[in-house]
C-alpha cells in the first residue's frame, strides 16, 4: 500500500470540516441525553465524534483516501445513528454495529480495487454467484411489503439484491470497458428478470437505470441510449398493467388523500411530517416521528425534516450532491476505462437511489421500496452503500498514484532524436 501522507492544506480542510461535524453530533447526543439522562446518549456524544475523527484523520494514513468523501459519508452514517437513537435506541445500536462492519468492508474494497489486476476472472466468477444470490429469495425468501427479496438466516435478515448491486457494477464495467456487449447485457437482463420475479421493482429500476447510464458513459451512443430509455418507459407501462400493487402505488401517488387512512397513510404522514417541521424543524427529540410508518427505513428523510427542518433537509441533499460531484470527478480522472466506469457506476447507483427514495417521500415520484443510502436502518443497505464508496475511494487512490507517476515522468522530459 502506498504511503501518500495527506498534504497540510488537505489536513487543514479535513480538520475544519470534521470539527464542525463532531460539534454537531456532540451537541445533538448531549441534547438527547438531557431528555432522559440516558448514559448511552452521553456515551454516543463522545463515541460518535471520536469515530468521525478517526475516520477522517486516521484512515487517510492507511491509503490515499479522498478525505472529503470520507467526511461526508461519515456524517450521513452518523446522522442515521442519531435519528434512529431519537426514535428507537435499539435500532441505533444495531446501526452502529452495522456501520463498523461496513467500514471494514469499505477498506477491504479499497484494497481490492488497488490490488486486483485481472478483473476478468473475478467478473466470470461473480456472474454465477450473483445470479445464485438473486435466486435464493425466490426459493427461501419471505414476502415483505409485497416483495420477496429478503432471506432470513436465524435472526439475521439479508437482502441479496443490495449485495448484487456491487457485482452488477463490476461486471457491467468490466465487459463494457472491453467492449463486449453480450455478457453484460445477458447478465443485466437475468438480474432484472430475477428482480421482477421477486417483485422488487424499486431495485429493478435502479439496476436498469445504472446499466443504461453506464452504457451511455462507455459508448456515447445517443440513439441506443434513447432506445433504452423508451424501453424502460415501455417496461414501466407493462409493469403498471401487470402488477396490481404498481397500479395501487401510482394511484396513491396521484392522490394519497383519497384513501388517507389506509393505502395513502404512509405518504400522508410523510407529507404532514415535512410540513410540521417547517424550515428549522420541531426540535430534536420533539415531534412525533414514530407516527410515520417505516420511519426507520424508507421514510427516514421525513423524520430528519420533521426534527431538523427543511433547511437541514436541503443540507442533507446538498451533501449527497457533493458526494455525486466528487464521485463523478474521480471517475473522469481515472486512467483506465474499467476504473472510470466502476467509479461512475457506484456514483450513479448512490445518486439514483437517493433520487428515487427522496422523490418518493416528497411525492415527486411514486414510492418504491428502496432505502436512503448511508442513513436508513439496515445492514445490507449500509454495507452496499459503503462498499460502493469503497469502490470510488479505490479508484481515487489509483488516480493519486497515477498523478504521482505523472509528476515523476514530467521531470524526465521527452526523448530526443525521433
Amino acid at each position: 500500500m502506498t504511503k501518500h501522507a495527506p498534504s497540510r492544506r488537505l489536513r487543514r480542510a479535513a480538520t475544519r470540516l470534521s470539527s464542525v461535524v463532531m460539534l454537531f453530533y456532540f451537541s445533538a447526543f448531549v441534547l438527547l441525553g438531557l431528555k432522559d439522562y440516558a448514559w448511552q446518549a452521553f456515551a454516543l456524544a463522545l463515541a460518535v465524534p471520536a469515530m468521525i475523527w478517526l475516520g477522517t484523520n486516521f484512515l487517510p494514513r492507511l491509503f490515499p483516501a479522498d478525505t472529503l468523501l470520507l467526511s461526508l459519508t461519515n456524517f450521513l452514517c452518523a446522522l442515521g445513528v442519531l435519528v434512529l437513537y431519537d426514535t428507537n435506541p435499539v435500532y441505533a445500536y444495531h446501526q452502529a454495529a452495522y456501520y463498523a462492519v461496513s467500514l471494514l468492508a469499505m477498506i477491504c474494497c479499497v484494497w481490492a480495487v488497488r490490488a486486483v489486476r485481472h478483473w476478468g476472472a473475478a467478473a466470470w466468477v461473480l456472474i454465477p454467484v450473483s445470479l445464485a444470490l438473486l435466486a435464493v429469495p425466490l426459493i427461501w425468501g419471505k414476502e415483505t411489503y409485497g416483495a420477496t427479496n429478503w432471506i432470513y438466516i436465524g435472526s439475521v435478515s439479508v437482502q441479496p439484491s443490495e449485495l448484487v448491486k456491487v457485482s452488477l457494477i463490476l461486471i457491467v464495467s468490466y465487459f463494457m470497458s472491453r467492449r463486449r456487449f453480450l455478457p453484460w447485457l445477458l447478465f443485466a437482463v437475468a438480474c432484472l428478470g430475477a428482480l421482477m420475479l421477486q417483485r422488487d421493482l424499486g431495485t429493478a429500476l435502479l439496476y436498469y437505470g445504472v446499466t443504461l447510464l453506464l452504457f451511455f458513459a462507455s459508448s456515447g451512443n445517443v440513439p441506443l441510449t434513447g432506445l433504452g430509455v423508451l424501453g424502460g418507459a415501455g417496461a414501466a407501462v407493462l409493469g403498471y398493467r401487470m402488477f396490481a400493487h404498481v397500479k395501487k402505488r401510482v394511484a396513491i401517488w396521484r392522490n394519497p388523500w383519497a384513501d388517507y387512512e389506509n393505502a395513502g397513510f404512509q405518504i400522508v404522514q410523510s407529507l404532514m411530517a415535512l410540513a410540521s417541521g417547517g424550515l428549522i424543524g420541531m426540535g430534536l427529540g420533539l415531534g412525533s416521528p414514530r407516527t410515520i410508518p417505516v420511519y426507520h427505513t424508507d421514510f427516514i428523510f421525513a423524520v430528519i425534516c420533521e426534527q431538523f427542518g427543511l433547511i437541514f433537509g436541503l443540507c442533507v441533499l446538498a451533501m449527497y450532491l457533493a458526494i455525486l460531484w466528487r464521485g463523478a470527478t474521480i471517475a473522469m480522472a481515472a486512467r483506465h476505462a474499467f476504473h472510470g466506469l466502476v467509479a461512475m457506476g457506484a456514483t450513479l447507483m448512490i445518486g439514483l437511489q437517493t433520487f428515487v427514495i427522496i422523490g418518493g417521500v416528497i411525492k415527486l415520484i411514486p414510492l418504491t421500496g428502496v432505502t436512503m443510502p448511508f442513513v436508513s436502518y439496515g445492514g445490507s443497505s449500509l454495507l452496499s452503500s459503503l462498499v460502493l464508496i469503497g469502490l470510488i475511494q479505490g479508484v481515487a487512490s489509483l488516480n493519486e498514484d497515477d498523478l504521482h507517476e505523472d509528476m515523476l515522468l514530467a521531470t524526465g522530459g521527452e526523448e530526443e532524436g525521433v
Binding site: 454537531f24 439522562y37 424550515l279 424543524g281 431538523f308 443540507c315 457533493a322 486512467r335 514530467a410
Partner: protein, 187 residues
C-alpha cells in the same frame, strides 16, 4: 430533565443545528471548489497528465498534415470520429479503427477492430495476429488508412523493443517442419 425545560432547549437548538448543517455544506463545497482550482493548476503544470506519448504525422492525408501531433492516452480507441481518444481524420480510417493500451514494460499494444488492419513499420497487422505482433514502441511507425504516424513515448516509460523478423523469415518460421525420416506433411 423536566419536559418544559427540554422543550425550550430543543427549540433553541434548532437554530444551532440548522447553522451547523449550512456550515458543513458550505465547507464541503468550498473544499470541492478549491480542489477543482488545484486540479486545473496541476493540469497547467502537467499538460500531458494521463498521456503516455504522442503520434506525430509523417505525411499529409485528409485533415492531417506533416508534424501534426496527437496525444496518446494510456488506453483508448483510435479512429475517424472526434469522440475517439486519438482522432485520425484521414481517408481509409474507420470510425473505430483500433484499440490500444499501454502495457508497462512492453509498449503500446494495438488491436485492430473486426475487419480493420493497420501496418507497423510496414508490416501488416490484422486482429488475429495482434496478440503476437501488435506492440508499438518509441519510434515505430503506425499506418492507418492513408495516415502514417510515428509514436513518441515519454521518457521514463518502460518498454521493450521486440526483435522483429523480416516477413519472409516469419513465413518460413510458420511453415510446418517435415518429420525426420518421413515425407513432408500435407497441408
Amino acid at each position: 430533565m423536566k419536559d418544559e425545560w427540554y422543550t425550550v432547549i430543543a427549540l433553541g437548538m434548532r437554530y444551532w443545528f440548522a447553522l451547523l448543517g449550512v456550515l458543513i455544506v458550505w465547507r464541503a463545497f468550498h473544499w470541492l471548489r478549491r480542489d477543482r482550482r488545484e486540479k486545473h493548476r496541476r493540469l497547467r503544470q502537467l499538460p500531458d497528465a494521463g498521456m503516455v506519448g504522442e503520434f506525430v504525422s509523417l505525411n499529409d492525408a485528409g485533415d492531417m498534415t506533416v508534424d501534426d501531433t496527437l496525444p496518446v492516452p494510456r488506453e483508448g480507441v483510435l479512429g475517424r470520429l472526434y469522440s475517439c481518444d486519438v482522432p485520425v481524420l484521414s481517408p481509409g480510417v474507420a470510425k473505430d479503427h483500433l484499440d490500444f493500451v499501454f502495457e508497462d514494460g512492453l509498449g503500446l499494444r494495438v488491436r485492430p477492430r473486426h475487419g480493420q488492419t493497420c501496418r507497423i513499420n510496414g508490416e501488416e497487422l490484422t486482429r488475429r495476429d495482434a496478440a503476437e505482433r501488435g506492440v508499438l514502441v518509441h519510434g515505430d511507425v503506425l499506418q492507418v488508412g492513408e495516415a502514417a504516424l510515428r509514436l513518441r513515448l515519454f521518457s521514463g516509460l518502460k518498454f521493450r523493443r521486440p526483435a522483429r523478423k523480416a516477413p519472409t523469415e516469419e513465413r518460413k518460421a510458420k511453415a510446418p517442419k517435415a518429420a525426420p525420416g518421413k515425407g513432408g506433411e500435407r497441408g
